[in-house]
């Protein structure tokens, strides 16, 4: 199988994995973030420890977990913490380098909506809500967002509701945030990036065959482009082989 045949899940996982280079601790949910973190562990970030929202640290799963609380994460793990310790001391205590989040909507400052589409009191669609996302945003040093869909409804000028605010909104509310908020957004079209407070997300890289205009057209705000816009190097055969044969051989998430 050639590198060109990478699926969208594989592409997003590989790109997210590369961004984890040199990071130590990652707070990851199940799905693409697990794949990305597992691949990073085998490649660019051998020291990486994945911390799960359920309280598991240093998991050694026998099978790829289907949920953040899968029994296979617990058996053989290095530690299983109660939730007050996990959220209070680990996350709020500043021990997480990168948190992975998803969302229904994101704006140019990296604020996220995972609560409702429409008005909160009479929503068109009720979504799951924060879970731990508000805490991850407030306390992780930086946040990576993986969004499969890149369209103007998801990448919006104005969120229907802000569930998990970035540091700019927190500061405006008089709260000093611990981290930089969203620093990377990885989508099917490319990578958006910002460094921290006061900065908008800019287009940093596009996938081969995608133009900056394509990404601007798919983004609901006036997307600025980085001066050094690059083209994402496609997944290598080595990365794909690791992903397919070692990380997710049963194809739980790779579709």
């Amino acid at each position: 199988m050639t590198a060109a045949a990478a699926t969208s899940s594989e592409l997003l996982s590989v790109v997210a994995a590369r961004e984890l280079a040199a990071r130590r601790t990652v707070f990851a949910g199940i799905g693409l973030p697990t794949l990305a973190a597992s691949l990073a562990h085998l490649t660019v970030a051998p020291e990486l420890e994945i911390v799960y929202e359920s309280g598991v640290c240093g998991a050694h799963p026998s099978h790829l977990p289907e949920t953040i609380a899968d029994a296979v994460l617990i058996t053989g793990a290095e530690a299983v913490l109660p939730m007050p310790t996990l959220f209070g001391s680990v996350l709020q205590g500043g021990h997480i380098d990168v948190g992975f989040l998803g969302a229904a909507q994101i704006d140019k400052w990296g604020n996220l909506n995972s609560s409702v589409i429409g008005d909160w009191h009479h929503p068109k669609a009720r979504l799951p809500g924060s879970g731990g996302a508000n805490e991850v945003m407030a306390n992780a040093r930086e946040v990576f967002v993986v969004m499969r869909r890149h369209d103007p409804r998801s990448f919006t000028e104005r969120l229907d509701f802000c569930t998990s605010p970035g540091p700019d909104r927190a500061l405006a509310d008089g709260i000093r945030p611990l981290g930089a908020g969203v620093t990377r957004v990885i989508t099917e079209l490319g990578i958006l990036a910002r460094e921290g407070v006061g900065e908008e997300l800019r287009l940093a890289a596009v996938h081969p065959g995608v133009s900056a205009d394509d990404v601007r057209a798919a983004t609901g705000w006036e997307l600025k482009t980085a001066d050094d816009l690059t083209v994402v190097e496609p997944p290598t055969e080595a990365e794909l082989a690791l992903l397919r044969e070692d990380v997710d051989p049963e194809r739980v998430y790779l579709r």
Binding site: S54, T75, P84, G131, A133, F161, C162, P165, L171
Partner: protein, 312 residues
């Protein structure tokens, strides 16, 4: 010293400790979800409950559909990563068949409410919510000025949450002795805080064991007997969630719930067959059949014993 025997049937425990209009906390984060207790609340036709649960998932959707719940306090209203809760969405999006009062938090906000409740504090501070729209729709999320100087010597503002003190908290666990010393391993979640926050607590367990078993490993006791009012032995009572070392999660049922709950008639038929149509959880377990349970069997992975030592 003879300990008080608090064991009773699920029917007795729900009849004694859950009343119409009560505030009921059901905890268990993906692991050890007290589903059988939720089903018995449905069978007994409780009404007008306020349900407190961090991850409002299938059992909450079922209680909503059965008409037991008028208010929900939660930080995640979804069917894990497997899809939607049909009844919850109908109630929230179109008030069908009745509106649902919903108080929305984040996970740590809920955890801090339990901590404040357990410790009888007036509030608990956390570094969440700054700049969020959540305080606009939930007036319980309030900002205060710290009485102490911040890291830069200036004033520091911080959000706080109020305590929660449920009338009753119900948790599921692997084992307890007859007086309620409750042992959990694997994910222990927020169960201890949820129990201590409540006025009364019901512990549902896979098995009731001798006090000697508990006392051979006291560090594994997450909830001591003094915090427990009722002990219910109910094997496989956490299905479709799992009990570490006892049975695995029924992922297929989680995946099927979106379709079941999306169609109100199908959901009503499901409740009629599996909850109203079974006298108790033992009948529900038997109805699923041995072949089904064989699919959730887990192998052995024993911990090594530790030496607590004894004075010579």
């Amino acid at each position: 010293m003879s300990a008080v025997d608090k064991t009773m049937t699920m029917r007795e425990a729900i009849a004694a400790h859950v009343h119409d209009g009560d505030t009921v906390s059901l905890e268990g984060f993906t692991h050890l979800i007290p589903t059988a207790a939720g089903h018995e609340i449905i069978r007994q036709g409780r009404r007008d409950l306020t349900v407190i649960r961090m991850t409002a998932d299938i059992v909450v959707d079922q209680m909503l559909a059965a008409g037991c719940v008028s208010k929900l306090v939660s930080s995640f209203v979804g069917n894990s990563s497997a899809g939607s809760l049909g009844e919850l969405r109908r109630r929230v999006e179109s008030a069908r068949p009745a509106p649902l009062e919903f108080e929305e938090y984040s996970h740590y906000g809920m955890i801090c409410r339990y901590i404040a409740g357990a410790q009888r504090l007036p509030f608990y501070p956390l570094r969440s919510y700054g700049g969020s729209d959540l305080p606009e729709v939930n007036s319980s999320l309030r900002k205060v000025t710290s009485p102490y100087p911040g890291p830069d010597g200036g004033t520091e503002q911080i959000y706080v949450v109020p305590p929660v003190n449920p009338d009753v908290t119900i948790v599921h666990a692997q084992r307890a002795d007859r007086s309620g010393n409750t042992q959990i391993w694997g994910l222990t979640g927020v169960q201890a805080e949820a129990v201590y926050a409540a006025r009364k607590a019901v512990v549902v367990v896979e098995e009731v064991v001798d006090g000697e078993v508990v006392r051979s490993d006291p560090n594994r006791t997450v909830v001591p007997a003094h915090a427990v009012n009722a002990v219910v032995e109910c094997p496989r009572g956490a299905h479709p969630s799992f009990a570490q070392g006892y049975y695995d999660r029924d992922n297929a049922f989680y995946r099927s719930w979106s379709a079941i709950s999306k169609d109100k008639e199908r959901l009503t038929a499901w409740l009629a067959e599996w909850v109203h149509g079974t006298r108790d959880h033992a009948e529900y377990v038997a109805k699923l059949g041995e072949e089904f349970w064989d699919g959730l069997v887990v192998g052995e992975a024993m911990s090594l014993p530790v030496n607590y030592g004894r004075r010579l």
